[in-house]
Symmetry: C2
């Protein structure tokens, strides 16, 4: 349920497999991968398929191949941390709350700023989309419906910024947070508790009040974050 990463290509499967291994830390930075030939044989694919996969991983900054030296895992500072795949692999392998905190921090930085920008630059069409999402939230009958509408709301706000870099960043972070966000509603009974927060954001954007929008959104995500954190703690407690 985290990510139905369906890849039909052979090389795509290899990318996933190796990516997970590397990001998961099973092959540490600085360490060398086996020779192309051996690795290909070991993974039951042709060398070509393996090489195509390695080119992709290398584009993501995970590995570096040099002749004679072999292919080695690069240090984490070179990784494309904002790549959707890399993030997904981290989520899959590193369920440490530490990482979730970092994601949540990013969200808490982006979203208020985005709300402010949206209030400044929204056009009628974007506003309509935000309003529609809000209406859907208000009309939601269960947590599932609410989650979908909630995501649509935040997405619509981001789109209203007209800054595709921000949109891209949001979508990456939001996807990675994915499953955790679903849990940010407290209980099944009062999943709509944050509706008033969203209303304030909507109103501020409608009235073109950047600072008000920023603050309202700030409250909204901070609240959501504390829920995530609480949930994470509970999860850790349950694990122990």
């Amino acid at each position: 349920m985290v990510k139905p990463v369906i890849v039909r290509n052979l090389h795509g499967q290899v990318v996933q497999e190796l990516g997970r291994l590397i990001v998961g830390g099973e092959i540490a930075p600085g360490e060398n991968l086996p020779r192309e030939e051996l690795l290909a044989e070991h993974m039951k694919v042709s060398r070509t398929a393996l090489r195509e996969a390695m080119k992709v991983l290398s584009a993501k900054g995970l590995i570096e191949s040099r002749q004679k030296t072999g292919t080695r895992v690069r240090d984490t500072i070179h990784w494309n941390q904002l790549d959707a795949d890399v993030l997904a692999w981290r989520c899959a392998s590193m369920p440490t709350d530490d990482f979730v905190e970092k994601l949540a921090e990013m969200r808490e930085i982006i979203e208020p700023a985005a709300a402010a920008a949206a209030a400044r630059r929204r056009d009628p069409e974007q506003l309509a989309r935000i309003e529609a999402a809000y209406a859907a939230m208000a009309a939601a009958n269960d947590r599932e419906e609410w989650s979908v509408a909630d995501l649509a709301f935040h997405e619509a706000v981001l789109h209203a910024t007209h800054n595709e870099l921000m949109i891209s960043l949001f979508s990456v972070v939001e996807t990675a947070l994915g499953s955790y966000l679903e849990l940010s509603a407290r209980k099944a009974s009062d999943f709509k508790y944050s509706l008033p927060h969203h209303k304030k954001v909507l109103d501020a954007i409608r009235r073109r009040q950047p600072e008000v929008a920023r603050e309202a959104m700030q409250k909204t995500v901070a609240d959501s974050r504390s829920n995530i954190r609480r949930h994470a703690k509970r999860r850790v407690a349950a694990k122990a």
Copy 2:
């Protein structure tokens, strides 16, 4: 001088070439690339090298290959806008001030937040690094030296956040802004004019005052941005 993207691999060159074409808009989204065979022949490389390149572009979300249909350029919403290469290609092909504004906006969002986080979480080592960078700024003798130290300062602040996602985002945005930032110093004579701003940031981080650090950094980047904007205007005027 924007980016000395030196690629020794053949497929890397193909990636650059095709990437530039696509991001530059010469091959529009929805449009199909020529068949692998023809394209390979046209670019004077083997089909294998071309395919390796296409896998990379496909990982960046630029293209999508399906059997029988061929390879087509995907819609821009699917592009990995935060990929360093994609950003570089946009910078190379789209010197519109519009895009620079978007980058600057991102910077203005990240850096103050980063300064606040740094004030909260810095450890002695990080602080020392920031102080060293500040010292280098103060000691700079010309614009070149100052630019290097300036970048090091901001980098050090980002590292003090201990959030690699933020670091990654910063480095991507900063690299893309690259040449524009160099110009953010007003004239050769008073390139140090923003030193006091930086001092305030440093002090706030040293004293662990997140809000003070945020505000100081906010002023710093806003100032830098207005210089960039002024510069951009002049450039446009010169072009006309």
